[in-house]
Symmetry: C2
Subunit: 185 residues, 2 copies
Amino acid sequence: MGLKKTSREEILQHSIKLFKINGYYNTSMANIANACGLIKGSIYHHFKSKEEIGLESLKYIHKYFEDNIYNIAYQDNLTPKVKVQKFIQKIDDYFLNSEGGCLLGNLALEISNENALFKDEIKQYFTNWEKALKHILICCYEQDKAEALSKRYVALTQGEIMMMTLYSSSQNYLKVGEKIISLVK
Amino acid sequence: MGLKKTSREEILQHSIKLFKINGYYNTSMANIANACGLIKGSIYHHFKSKEEIGLESLKYIHKYFEDNIYNIAYQDNLTPKVKVQKFIQKIDDYFLNSEGGCLLGNLALEISNENALFKDEIKQYFTNWEKALKHILICCYEQDKAEALSKRYVALTQGEIMMMTLYSSSQNYLKVGEKIISLVK
DNA sequence: GTCTATATCAAGATAGAC
DNA sequence: GTCTATCTTGATATAGAC
C-alpha cells in the first residue's frame, strides 16, 4: 500500500464543503489543508492560489449539475413528465444532502460583487439551470411562459434553500419541486 | 460650526452598505473607518468589536422593517388591499434602491452558521416578515394557506433579490410584488 | 472624539529540505 | 508530494497623547 497522494479533486471536495458551511473568506488555506490532512503550504503544490480553489470549486459543482441534472432535460427519449420528475428528484437529492446549501448561491451573495470570474461562473450555472428547465416546460407552455416559469422556480428554489439552511427544515423546500412537477401534464 | 462628531448611527449606515456589497468578513474595520472619514482605531470608541457592529447592523435594518413595513399589516384602519399595496410598495422601494441586496439574506448565507446571535436576529427578521404578510392574507385565506403563501413569497423575494443582484435586472423581482398584491381581492 | 502608535495574531504565499 | 520554516501583509484590538 503506497502513501496516500492527495488529488486535486479531493482538495476541491473538502474546500466545497468548507466554503458552503463557513463561507469563502472565512475559510482559510489552513482550514482546507487541515481537512485534507495536510499543512497549508502543501496545498500550493496543487493550486496556485485560494482564488483558483474557489473558482475550481464553482466549476466542479457546475459541471456536476450539467452532467447529472441539466442533461436530463435534453434526453429526448424521455417524456416531459419523466424528465421533470427525474430533474427535480436529482436536484432534491443534491440539496437535501448538502450541508450549507448551494455553494453558487452562497458565493453569489458573498463575493460575486468582488470577483468577475466567480460572478460569470455563477451566472452561467443559473442561466443553464433555467435553460434546462425551460427546455422541459416548452412541451406545455409557449416560449415566454416557459422561460418566466423557469426563472421563477430557480429563484424560488434558491430562496427556499436559504430558508431551509436558516430554519433547519426542508418542509417548504420540498413543496417547490412538487409544484414544478405538477406544471407538466 | 463645531467639528463633526461621528454618531453610532452614521457608522452603522456606512457599515451596512459595505457589508451588503462586499460581505461581512471581506469588510475590515479600516474599510468602515475610511468610509466614515476616520481611522480604524477611532471606531472602537463607538463599538467594542466588529461583531457588535455586525449585530447592530442587522438589528438596525430589522427595526427599519418593523417600524416602516411590517407595521402596515397591523394598521387595521386600512383595507387589506391597501395594506398589501403599501406593504409591497415599501419593500420594493427598499430593495430596488439597495445596492448589494438584502443584508440579512446575505449574512444568512455567509455567516449564520458561525454566529448564533446573528442567526437569531436573521430568523426573527424573516419570521416577522412572514407573520406580517400572513396577517394581511388572512383576510382572504384560511390560516394554513395564508401562512404557506407568506413563507413562499418571502423565500421567493429573497431568491429574486439574489438574481436581481447577480444579473443587474429588476424585471423578475418586480413581478413577485404584483403577484402578491393580486392575491388580495 | 479622534489621533498616533503599537501589540498580537492569522492570513496568503514561497523556498527549499526530505 | 509533503514537510519545516519563513516572508509579508493585513486583520482585530488596545493604550495613551491631544
